[in-house]
Amino acid sequence: MTKNKAAAAPEQAKASAAEDASATPAKTAGSAQSKAAKAAKGDKRRSTDNLRLVCGLGFFVVVGIGLAFNTGLGTTDSFGWQTIAAACPVGAIETLLAGGIQAPVALVCLAITVVLVLLFGRAACGWLCPVPVVRRVFGGKKAVAKSVSDSKEEEAACDAQKNAAVKAAIDDRRAKLAVDTSPAARAQIEREFSAIIHGACATPHCAECAGHTTCSQETMRVHDRKNRIKVSHYDTRFAVLIGALASSAIAGFPVFCLVCPVGLTVATFIALWRFITMNQGTWGLIVMPVILIVELVVLRKWCHRLCPISAFFSLVGKGNKTLRPTVDEKKCLRLNGTAVCNRCHDVCPEGIDLHDPRGLVAPTECIKCAACVDACPESCITMPLFPKRTGASQATTLTDKEEQCLTN
């Protein structure tokens, strides 16, 4: 389903670009076509993707250097220099609950991790975690294809609805603009279009806005916040997180660490290293990969459905404001009414819809993989270090005015 969707998107973009060609002056048509061509080429631009692979493999190199030269830098479970390290948050909290914390340094290590998550969000999932690297190296790209929701039908239906609404709005705007060209009318048409395009999910979020599409974007957003459909961003990962912490507290030792695929991957690497360099054979060389295979191959949706570390990152990452993918509304083909382009949503491994922050997946689930940045045919998605206040989509953050309006 997802694959079909991904394949269909560029065609769709092309088709509407062709329509564009017949309806608008030649200049726009030419650029729209080249845009569509660029959209089709999007797949080949995977530079960030490769960079991520290199980064993930680089981590193994660092672990390897540690093995060879006793650097003590550590592994993904706890990485740092001398006493200062970023400890695995789940492991650290588990030991805290199990009563194993013997020194305040543990809290410092935990705090460092929390600060890093606030700074970089879930970037560790996309850039450091060895699990996707192992999957990609051994399982090819298919294995890392997105597997966000098991309600794929739900997702696809919502997408289809949205796309239809956007298409209708685009056609409507074009038709109206062709008839009426006075500046005042134009402004009105653009306002209406903007209102629809930003609330494009076909579900009527807001009764107040539903009747009149002339609501300003801002009011609509405020209304929407008031009446938003309750979308749960707490999935099964959080249950696993709670289970891991509770069982550790009861059993008196970090239980999840036993089966943690991150730890097991690194441990397998270390065991292999010691097997090769020191002739140290152990059953662990079989036991650990078997657990890994069960977790990553049998339970394919580990990262999105079960991983408690990812749950922790999502939880703390809600406070992350930096490096968020931001859409330039003027350039975005969908938001400026050129085409029903959905490339960024299609390539996102987390299933985030940048056009609709009220989508099924919260924007804070971003793993900073920059797949959307690479895929955008207009190159209009950026990941600014600090969220921009002007010119770009502010949909994810409420302005002061909105906040005020909401509290009233």
């Binding site: 400890a87 305040p104 059993a251 970090p254 239980v255 441990a267």
Partner: protein, 197 residues
């Protein structure tokens, strides 16, 4: 997306699996293993409660004496650090203590506290085959805890702190292809195991 029945099932099963894992471990007696732990990790229960299995102590050890417990040492102990005196001996440099993120390893006083206690293994000891032929352990002991009496090595339990220098230098069974099996003429065991006899 809302919580579906399937989500509920996945959550329930995984939480149950973790709970089962934890209770099995508790039932199997986690904290009773007889592994010699790095500096300060001598109380096994506290040690296991606080060990993240992060590998930093093993990585930083300049003597290579810290090894990772293997599947053979018990599933619940797997990946925790243990002392392998066939690979080195502890100098109490405390580098492992410095890097431990939970502080479960802590500095000890080598003149009073013990990692473990060395025990002579007569079946492997060269001196036991031919009295007086070897006195390596007594020569290398940095704490003067090993003496040759009547041609046989004898360990002074009070002076020995389990640093493992004697084990590392023991000439018996050094040429094995696979280092994780077999015993040398002298081996360090935990204090608890030594007392059990």
């Amino acid at each position: 997306m809302g919580i579906t029945r399937r989500d509920f099932l996945v959550a329930g099963v995984s939480a149950a699996a973790l709970a089962a894992c934890g209770s099995t471990a508790a039932y199997a007696g986690v904290g009773t293993s007889s592994l010699v732990r790095p500096v300060g990790g001598q109380d096994e229960t506290t040690f296991l409660a606080g060990c993240l299995r992060c590998d930093r102590c093993r990585s930083v050890c300049p003597e290579n004496v810290i090894d990772l417990a293997h599947a053979e040492d018990g599933f619940f102990e797997m990946r925790t650090p243990k002392m392998n005196f066939h690979l080195g001996a502890c100098t109490f440099c405390n580098k492992c203590v410095d890097v431990c993120p939970t502080g479960v390893l802590h500095a000890i006083d080598p003149s009073k506290d013990k990692l473990g206690i060395a025990e002579i293994r007569p079946a492997q000891c060269v001196a036991y085959r031919n009295p007086g032929s070897c006195s390596k352990c007594a020569e290398v002991c940095p704490y003067d805890a090993c003496h040759i009496q009547g041609g046989y090595p004898v360990i002074d339990d009070d002076a020995c702190n389990g640093c493992g220098t004697c084990v590392y230098d023991c000439p018996a069974l050094v040429l094995t292809a696979v280092d994780s099996t077999g015993e040398r003429g002298v081996e360090v065991v935990t204090v608890a195991e030594h007392e059990r006899g």
